[in-house]
């Protein structure tokens, strides 16, 4: 059986080789290890040896010809074999090499370029400190390598400048970007979490003013939009102003730091930039006040029984750390009153009125200046199903959280009725603006000790005024009056709130 001698790979990057010189001719006997040809590789001129003993039967590739590694270049007849009768053990491969030669001459350009590609690919692969054999690299390799070097240089320079703006030049670059104006190029900047929150609450981010760098809409902006979406009152505590980068020029002086005895200086005229929350409050309340036909109904409540009960209960509950507020009783009373007056627990739906199945009572919570001021409505869900202690705990939790960490959207959503209480400021009477989509809001004043008529006699007692604002599209005057009467019955006979 004859043995094919193929073009060997004589270097790690060699793809093809040129037979410079045959050291044998057909008919010569050779033995393993004999150098039969000199082959020029991509790196050097190398000696080519045979690995088997035998007679050179045929030389297939002539001196000066270049063939791919693996191509049959000569055929060896083994001991005892007739050299004249042998043929390549893989005739097809011989044909292939011939075809390749023909193709090369026909279509040299194409062949060249693909070869170059190949050699570049291998040249970049083979680096090792162990070898110093790239001194004879061909030009195309060197060229492509130097090109690569240039590219990587460019890239690293780009990265450098990015890193710089990342860490050092952030303010500068932000400033230069904000000159273009937010969305000046029509692109809205929204942080990923802000976008997600807005999507969750079906809020159109285009209506939100971003407060981040370059007008980027950030989580806080969306949270404010959600919160003020629940805004109910037109009046906002003075000085309630959220802190933001734009406010730095006008720092808020904490109330405690102001010296009351000091003669007030002239008021300085300032222009306060609107926060997102403020903008939303303005927008929503104008909408409420101008589109909802408001009317108010006021009733006075005898608070003595409730205050007496509260005192007793709080004494009993003190060891457990529970302290019920008047408002907790009101939430409970308003909620259970709904069971007799479903129509108050309803929303206007343009072509229908939706009467809700759950009684979720919103309570207006004003925010401290340190959290940017303004107010939010926390929602006590299924307040009609909760006892006083539960309501008390939940309302404390909501108020505390709203003032420290902020409420989640869920904690501010789905109210069906709202209570706004300014009694703690000593306010006797006020009216509130409806918090859509509610149809009613109860504005609660302080329980004030005053001369009262009880059982036909003048006495000293506590009275409280509460004013219900209503949407006349949903609730008529008599319905409102009946709801208030029920509420009055409950409040003046407070034991009923306990059951």
């Amino acid at each position: 059986m004859s043995i094919d001698i193929t073009m060997p790979r004589l270097s790690d990057t060699m793809e093809s080789g040129t037979i410079l010189k045959w050291n044998v001719k057909e008919g010569d006997e050779v033995s393993s290890g004999d150098v039969v040809a000199d082959v020029e590789t991509d790196k050097a001129t190398m000696e080519m040896q045979v690995y088997d003993d035998g007679t050179i039967a045929r030389i297939v590739v002539d001196e000066g010809d270049t063939v791919d590694v693996g191509t049959v270049i000569a055929i060896l007849a083994e001991e005892g074999e007739d050299p004249s009768g042998v043929d390549s053990s893989s005739e097809s491969s011989e044909k292939k090499s011939k075809k390749k030669e023909a193709k090369a001459s026909d279509d040299e350009d194409e062949e060249d370029s693909s070869d170059e590609e190949k050699s570049t690919a291998t040249a970049t692969k083979d680096r090792d400190d162990d070898e110093d054999d790239d001194s004879e690299e061909d030009d195309s390799d060197r060229e492509s390598k130097s090109k690569k070097k240039d590219d990587s240089k460019k890239e690293s320079r780009r990265e450098d400048s990015e890193a710089e703006s990342d860490d050092r030049g952030e303010k500068d670059s932000d400033r230069s970007r904000s000159d273009e104006g937010a969305g000046g190029n029509g692109r809205l900047r929204v942080s990923p979490v802000a976008r997600r929150l807005a999507d969750d609450h079906q809020i159109d981010v285009r209506n939100i003013q971003g407060s981040g760098p370059s007008g980027r809409i950030i989580k806080r902006d969306v949270m404010n939009a959600i919160e003020s979406g629940a805004e109910t009152r037109a009046s906002v505590p003075p000085g309630a102003k959220r802190k933001s980068t734009s406010d730095v020029a006008h720092p808020i002086v904490p109330a405690a730091a102001q010296d009351e005895d000091q003669a007030p200086g002239p008021l300085e005229e300032t222009s306060i930039k609107l926060s997102n929350m403020r903008q939303t409050i303005a927008k929503r309340l104008v909408e409420s006040k101008t589109t909802i036909p408001h009317y108010q109904v006021t009733l006075t409540f005898n608070m003595d029984p409730l205050l007496e009960l509260r005192k007793t209960l709080n004494q009993q509950l003190e060891p457990q750390g529970v302290k019920l507020s008047v408002n907790d009783f009101l939430v409970r009373a308003c909620a259970i009153a709904m069971h007799r007056h479903h129509e108050v627990n309803a929303s206007w739906g343009e072509d229908h009125i939706k009467v809700h199945g759950e009684v979720n009572v919103g309570i207006a919570i004003s925010l401290p200046a340190s959290r940017g001021g303004g107010l939010v409505v926390g929602v006590i869900r299924n307040a009609d199903q909760m006892g006083l202690r539960g309501i008390s705990a939940e309302s404390k939790r909501l108020a505390e959280k709203a003032r420290t960490k902020g409420l989640t959207t869920e904690e501010m959503s789905d109210s069906t009725f709202t209570i706004s209480n300014l009694g703690m400021f000593g306010v006797e009477h006020f009216t509130a603006i409806i918090n859509p989509p509610n149809s009613a809001i109860l504005a609660v004043g302080a329980a004030i000790q005053k001369p009262v008529v009880r059982d036909g006699a003048l006495a000293v007692g506590h009275e409280m005024q509460a004013t219900l604002s209503l949407d006349h599209r949903v609730i008529d005057g008599a319905m409102a009056a009946e709801y208030l009467r029920t509420l009055k019955q409950i409040i003046e006979n407070p034991a009923s709130v306990l059951v």
Binding site: A163, D166, S191, A194, R196, G212, S244, T245, T404
Partner: protein
């Protein structure tokens, strides 16, 4: 029973307890024996274990690092002390080419259960050559575990885990912390790798760090708390394995992330964490991850320059404020 001991004593206790348990464990390094340790970490160990197990070497890091690796290939459990990780650079071929790759190159035949430990980091006015923070540089190499303890308790537990670990561990201490005191139980215990410690819970911003800068993070968090910014501080414990899950969990809660890394910023642990957080928390982020690194310059000698170069509480406070849009 816990009692208050120094960081260096905690390290020593971990080594001594392991050496009592397992005769394959030995300690080798410059000045570890007769001098009682350049930083007194191994004080008294020569007396207890003798010169065959607590071994002084010449100043020859490449040599004794390689010696340790060869001994580990034979099944011993060497602890090799680098007086400073800055000096590990002359042993780079051994600790980066041999220790982490032996198991792989031998197709699972030869593992390398070895601990390299010593001081890492700047802050002592030692100039550029002696102030290396090697964690970012070495973290690029697969096959090593890299651990940075933050307290005496952590140091003892993590070092024991390192000695028992079947793979090479780089244990990066800080000479600035060796005198730090803390409660440490007398009995042996392990603190796991790859499990971040929540040093401080918070809701407003996640701060991630490793080793000594964790203390700066705590300081910064206390300052920020006064402004109503409630930070969550994570001590990653090990750079590799990295507890990215814990970081992700925290960032999903806070929506903000600041990474504090005492090494240089380019291609660093902080850039790696930033990249992973951006990938895994993309929809939870309200701002890009902010990084606090050493400045991208060689460590200077002058006190003020060096202090300015390194991460500190002020820089962390600024970064958190910037990240949470409260600058």
């Amino acid at each position: 029973m816990p009692r208050e001991i120094e960081f260096r004593e905690a390290l020593r206790e971990a080594m001594s307890q392991c050496m009592r348990d397992d005769p394959r464990v030995f300690l080798m390094g410059e000045e570890v024996a007769e001098y009682n340790g350049a930083y007194k970490v191994s004080k008294g160990m020569l007396d207890e274990f003798g010169p065959r197990r607590v071994i002084d070497t010449p100043i020859s890091e490449n040599g004794f690092a390689g010696l340790g690796i060869g001994a580990a290939m034979m099944g011993l459990r060497p602890i090799i002390e680098f007086m400073s990780w800055s000096f590990s650079l002359v042993a780079a071929d051994q600790i980066l080419n041999n220790a982490p790759k032996m198991l792989y190159m031998s197709g699972g035949q030869f593992g390398c259960p070895i601990v390299f430990r010593g001081n890492n980091g700047a802050g002592g006015q030692l100039g550029s050559t002696h102030s290396w923070c090697v964690e970012s540089l070495y973290a690029n190499v697969p096959g090593v575990k890299i651990v940075l303890p933050t307290t005496p308790y952590e140091a003892k537990g993590l070092l024991r885990t390192a000695i028992l670990d079947p793979d090479p561990v780089f244990f990066l201490e800080s000479e600035r912390m060796l005198g730090m005191k803390g409660d440490v139980p007398e009995e042996p215990y392990e603190v796991p790798f790859g499990k971040a410690r929540i040093v401080r819970e918070g809701t407003d911003c996640t701060i991630v760090s490793f080793g000594r800068p964790v203390h700066f993070c705590i300081e910064a968090a206390e300052t920020l708390e006064k402004d109503g910014i409630d930070c969550e501080v994570l001590d990653g414990r090990s750079v590799r394995p990295l507890d990215i899950d814990a970081i992700v969990k925290s960032v999903r809660k806070t929506n903000y992330c600041v990474v504090v890394d005492q090494a240089w910023p380019f291609a660093s642990i902080s850039s790696e964490i930033a990249s992973q957080v951006h990938k895994r928390c993309f929809d939870d982020l309200d701002n890009h991850v902010h990084r606090v690194n050493a400045d991208d310059v060689p460590a200077p000698y002058a006190y003020n320059l060096e202090q300015e170069m390194l991460p500190n509480a002020r820089k962390i406070v600024e970064a958190v404020r910037s990240a949470t849009y409260q600058a």
